[in-house]
């Protein structure tokens, strides 16, 4: 099978317009006869569901939380990018496109990335109209801040709660359509499998998390908007319930999985402090605007941070990357931190952190300005650690944060299964091998609000006069039986270890071998280890309670079973890619001074994996760079 | 248009409460006459109460007052019933003292004690003077009903003195919370204003409670 990304003709600037003028339309009266399932109520899911409903489609929307407002988009702090050029600092759609492509180390599609930048400005208009209280100047205009990896100020924000404010706007808009009876919302419902009829996505099987009942839902198209899968590392900045199950099940039913190993490790999270820890809290990257990162120049320095004089501090990012300094992109900042920590310069009780210091910023701008900019982040830091960061530097550490990889989608955001779409973080589309800060709220929103509602019609137009399948179709029955068997199998094991035990084991292997830096031997070892974890899980896990009741332990077990398989694929993908690009750093491919070596002539493609009865088959979507010349990504 | 009971009922309680707060100021100012030396106090106090009884305008106000008390109580009751229904099960452990004042948590109970006080208070004075129930009320030198004597006699019973003074504590608590709460219920939300309001409520409640609370003792020791 050759992958066709369906990139429209024309100049970059014209492609999206050309696409829209040529795609098929559906008469408003007919749209209400068409049913769409949207799994996920984050920015991408809620945005898509609300907009599709506004257009007239009949929408069913799902989330596993008790309310749509809790999707993990809510946790994004820093901001959302848009090429508005309000700061008059030379920004443009083209520059934003180029920054994103370069930030992703030239491993994403030009056309998609350009469209992302192009639609960013109208998105800010949209959210402003929806009542998002973005930060403003005294005169009333919108403010911007800068973010890692770029030299212009294009990030819009709502205090330290940008994701929350955007999500609440999307959630409210979703509820507006619920009120108008255009959206049926199923909270506390988890999608456990995808149903295909004649090779087309026609519905899902979901578990009602309160009653435990398995339910069938049929539609003319299915949209997955289920977010990131970094919980495969167990410790991450994601919510505890974030999972890869929906996309994994879709993958097993035939959707290709693209670049699964491209995972962003965020440089500024709070360090792990104990084995029992369940979550690593992110401290917004925006802190790097004013904070300076350093470690002591001497290993195992026993002194308190404030006792270490200036000349004995190593501001290693400023030293290694003079032009970007503390604003170097995430992958670079994380790797640099790991390098210092591994070399013995780490600080904190477990020596697993580096300092992020606001002393100079406070001296320069005054404590009030810093309070105004980051007050809630400093408060949060204090709540968690008990430390006052106005007086002593924060301790930060890298943590798994974002999945650039995800289901392979074409320009229309359709996966390799006809009628199955993937939007938001769960697809692989615009970020290449590394995502720039504040670009993914953007991507999730643009996918949901602007792109999908303009591409899905191209597919649904053909579905219009076909007979619609109902949940009585044998395919539904069969998938439901399979899901039930899967659940019963887990409950029947009654072994001796908890789900969390296996998750910790998986997390350790993934973090050790498939995170910030990777090598062949390690990845091969990891694959063997994960296979062992899988075997142990299926023979020795213990889950109490039943399937026909609210059972949080069972929910965890089902998610973990999928994470384990996904882990194998991630390592397989990392092993296959013998180059270093973006967040994917293969130790065998580096310069003598530790910078990444990208191998464009062999690896300028998107890996897309096909599930093949427990094995994975590689397909390649070659990336054509028609409009820009991939350059060596340097932030020196 | 349909009115929202959540707002309507509370607004009624608040508005009647504020009216009663105003009344208390007038009531206390009049009672201050009791603090004067015996002779002057008797004459002026009796004259004043006669004037009150005979002024037609005051009569209207008096009815408004009775009505306010009744409406305040009835609506507070309705509010309490709904509130109880809204929280049918209470917590096994609940440290309300950590997040709110005792008075704010117990306005119903406090209100009930004040209601009992009012009933007894009315029986002591209003029933005798206006309805002519119980022992006859005499007249003073100027021919006015000798209300002063009624007061004087009552407050020479130490149990009544204690009752009248001690019950001013719940009244103070009720007024302190009630006054600021009433303004907020009626939509006063100015930030600085609310801080001033909190202080005024405290002063008001303290003055009213202390004022009414001291008088029985002053009379007792006359």
């Amino acid at each position: 099978m050759t992958l066709n990304a369906k990139i429209p003709e024309g100049r970059l600037e014209d492609k999206w317009r050309n696409y829209q003028t040529q795609s098929r339309l559906i008469n408003p009266a007919n749209k209400k006869k068409l049913h769409v399932i949207v799994v996920g109520s984050g920015l991408s899911g809620a945005g898509a569901a609300a907009t599709l409903a506004e257009l007239g489609y009949d929408v069913q929307c799902f989330c596993y939380q008790d309310s749509a407002r809790r999707a993990h988009s809510v946790a994004a702090q820093g901001g959302i990018n848009a090429a508005k050029n309000y700061q008059h600092d030379g920004d443009s759609v083209w520059r934003m496109f180029y920054d994103t492509l370069k930030g992703g180390d030239f491993r994403s599609r030009e056309a998609n990335t350009y469209r992302l930048a192009e639609l960013s400005a109208p998105l800010i208009d949209h959210f402003t109209q929806q009542g998002v209280p973005f930060a403003r100047e005294y005169g009333g205009v919108l403010v911007n801040r800068s973010f890692g990896g770029v030299q212009v100020q294009r990030t819009f924000y709502a205090r330290g709660q940008t994701g929350q404010q955007l999500l609440l706007a999307a959630y409210s808009q979703l509820y507006k359509m619920v009120r108008m009876k255009k959206v049926s919302l199923f909270t506390r419902h988890e999608m456990l499998d995808l149903v295909l009829v004649d090779g087309k996505a026609k519905g899902i099987i979901a578990r009602d998390l309160v009653s435990g009942a398995l339910k069938r839902f049929a539609a003319d198209a299915v949209v997955l908007a289920t977010g990131g899968y970094s919980r495969v590392f167990r410790l991450s900045t994601l919510a505890i319930g974030c999972n890869g199950s929906a996309i994994w099940k879709a993958h097993k039913r035939g959707a290709f999985f693209a670049a699964p190993s491209f995972t962003q490790i965020h440089p500024t999270a709070l360090p792990q402090s104990s084995e029992a820890q369940s979550k690593l809290t992110l401290m917004s990257e925006s802190l790097r605007n004013d904070g300076r990162i350093w470690v002591p120049k001497q290993t195992d320095d026993p002194r308190a941070a404030n006792d270490i004089p200036e000349e004995e501090r190593d501001y290693y990012l400023e030293r290694r990357y003079p032009s970007f300094g503390n604003l170097a992109p995430r992958d670079i900042a994380s790797r640099a931190a790991k390098e210092r920590i591994d070399a013995g310069f780490g600080v904190g009780r477990l020596k697993n952190a580096v300092y992020l210091d606001f002393k100079h910023a406070i001296e320069r701008f005054g404590i009030n300005t810093i309070q105004d900019r980051y007050g809630n982040l400093f408060d949060m830091y204090k709540k968690i650690t008990g430390i006052d960061a106005y007086r002593e530097p924060m301790q930060i550490s890298p943590a798994a944060h974002f999945s650039m990889g995800g289901l392979w989608v074409d320009y229309e955001l359709m996966t390799t299964i006809p009628g199955l779409y993937a939007v938001g973080e769960c697809n692989f589309s615009d970020h290449g091998a590394n995502r720039l800060g504040a670009n993914s709220l953007l991507q999730a929103s643009v996918d949901g609000y602007f792109i999908l509602p303009n591409t899905i019609n191209n597919y649904l137009a053909a579905a219009l006069n076909k007979e619609q399948v109902s949940t009585d179709h044998p395919a539904f029955k069969q998938v439901e039986v399979e899901v039930k068997q899967h659940i019963d199998r887990i409950l029947a094991i009654q072994g001796t270890k908890t789900v969390d035990h296996f998750h910790r084991e998986l997390g350790k292997v993934m973090w050790q071998e498939c995170a910030m830096s990777r090598n062949r031997a390690g990845l091969e070892r990891a694959i063997a280890q994960i296979k062992q974890i899988r075997a142990d899980f299926w023979s020795d896990v213990k889950v109490t309670g039943h399937s026909d009741e609210l059972n949080t332990e069972l929910e965890k077990a089902l998610r973990l079973a999928d994470f384990i398989e996904l882990g194998i694929l991630m390592c397989t993908d990392a092993l296959q890619r013998e180059e270093s690009c973006g967040a994917h750093f293969r130790e065998e491919f580096q310069t003598p001074d530790g910078e990444a070596v990208r191998v464009d002539d062999l690896y300028a493609y998107v890996s897309a994996w096909e599930y093949d009865q427990g094995d994975f088959k590689l397909h390649k979507e070659v990336l054509d760079f028609e409009f820009v010349q991939p350059s060596v990504r340097s932030y020196k | 248009m349909k009115v929202n009971t959540l707002f309507f009922r509370k607004s009624i309680v608040a508005a009647t409460g504020l009216f009663l707060c105003l009344f208390l100021i007038v009531h206390l100012s009049a009672n201050c006459l009791l603090l004067l030396p015996e002779q002057a106090a008797r004459g002026m106090y009796n004259a004043y109460s006669t004037w009150l009884r005979e002024n037609p305008l005051i009569k209207v106000v008096a009815y408004a007052l009775y009505l306010s008390i009744i409406v305040h109580v009835v609506y507070a009751l309705l509010v309490t019933i709904r509130n109880r229904k809204a929280k049918p099960v209470s917590y096994a452990v609940n440290h309300t003292e950590a997040n709110s004042s005792w008075a704010s948590q117990n306005m119903g109970l406090i209100g009930l004690s004040i209601l009992i006080f009012i009933v007894i208070h009315l029986a002591n004075f209003w029933a005798r003077i206006k309805l002519g129930l119980g022992a006859d009320v005499g007249v003073d030198a100027a021919g006015n009903k000798d209300v002063y004597e009624v007061t004087y006699a009552l407050f020479h019973n130490i149990y009544f003195v204690l009752f009248y003074s001690l019950l001013m504590i719940p009244l103070g608590l009720h007024l302190h919370h009630g006054l600021k709460s009433a303004f907020k219920t009626l939509g006063f939300y100015h930030k600085r204003g609310l801080e001033v309001l909190a202080r005024i409520s405290l002063i008001y409640a303290a003055v009213i409670a202390a004022g009414f609370g001291i008088i029985p003792f002053v009379v007792y020791f006359k």
Binding site: Q164, Y175, K542 | -
Partner: protein, 247 residues
């Protein structure tokens, strides 16, 4: 460290619940409160018992999904935090920690410590939005909004919808939650056209859901993880009055 948890267990909405005691050791002060419960749950699984059901998702104080009554306080002993932000260092070795679900008629118990807060969503449904369709927005800077107004809107918009206000309120009033949303939208120019209807509809739903009256005990603003000021309720009352008269 070692503590005794006294936890409300209730299998189903209609079932009769009761407190059950659990001794837990091997805890450390760095553990979060929820991690201590996780730890307990792992022991329960190994003993073949059903796990305690409680809610959480983000575990960083923003999603609003967590929330239980801990030792007589919503979200535990500290003001303005969520349950997931509470750490075991706030307790002493040997403490008994009483854990109860949110109690309110409008928040029926689903299981153990989990309650159903969908009443909040239904209040939102009644108008916590600006009814403009995707794709119809004017240029963002075309409408200027002064910093003071934007900041105030943001203060109100910070609500995470956890329900601590209802839980701690002796009347189970949802006034703080509803007021925060109303004030956020109604104070912005974008929210003006539908301002009156929004207040009337959202508060009507608040009434239908069976929440109590606000009597300004002020407990809600102390327990609110987002620090929403109770002045918001007074402001909502003003808007309500105006809407009743003009709307």
């Amino acid at each position: 460290m070692k503590v005794t948890f006294k936890i409300w267990r209730q299998d189903k909405p209609q079932a009769k619940g009761a407190f059950k005691e659990y001794q837990v050791d091997e805890l450390t002060e760095d553990m979060s409160f929820l991690e201590a419960l996780d730890h307990l749950n792992e022991r329960l699984v190994l003993r073949g018992e059903k796990v305690i059901a409680y809610e959480y998702d983000c575990r960083e104080g923003i999603c609003g999904q967590c929330g239980v009554f801990i030792n007589g306080r919503a979200h535990g002993p500290h003001p303005n935090i969520t349950t997931c932000q509470l750490h075991m260092r706030s307790f002493k070795d040997g403490d008994t920690i009483v854990v109860e679900p949110w109690r309110a008629n409008a928040f029926p118990i689903v299981k153990d410590l989990i309650v159903d807060r969908s009443a909040f969503d239904r209040i939102i449904e009644q108008g916590a939005y600006i009814s403009a369709k995707t794709g119809t927005a004017p240029e963002a800077n075309a409408i200027l909004i002064g910093k003071a107004i934007a900041d105030r809107a943001m203060d109100a918009a910070a609500c995470i919808g956890c329900g601590a206000c209802v839980a701690t309120c002796k009347n189970s009033s949802a006034a703080l939650f509803t007021a925060a949303k109303i004030n956020h939208l109604n104070s912005l120019p974008q929210g003006k056209p539908e301002a009156h209807q929004r207040v009337l509809d959202m508060t009507a739903q608040m009434e239908r859901e069976g929440f109590g009256h606000c009597s300004f005990t002020g407990a809600c603003e102390v327990e609110c993880p987002a620090g929403i000021s109770i002045a918001n309720i007074a402001e909502m009352n003003a808007r309500q009055g105006k809407a009743q008269l003009l709307g």
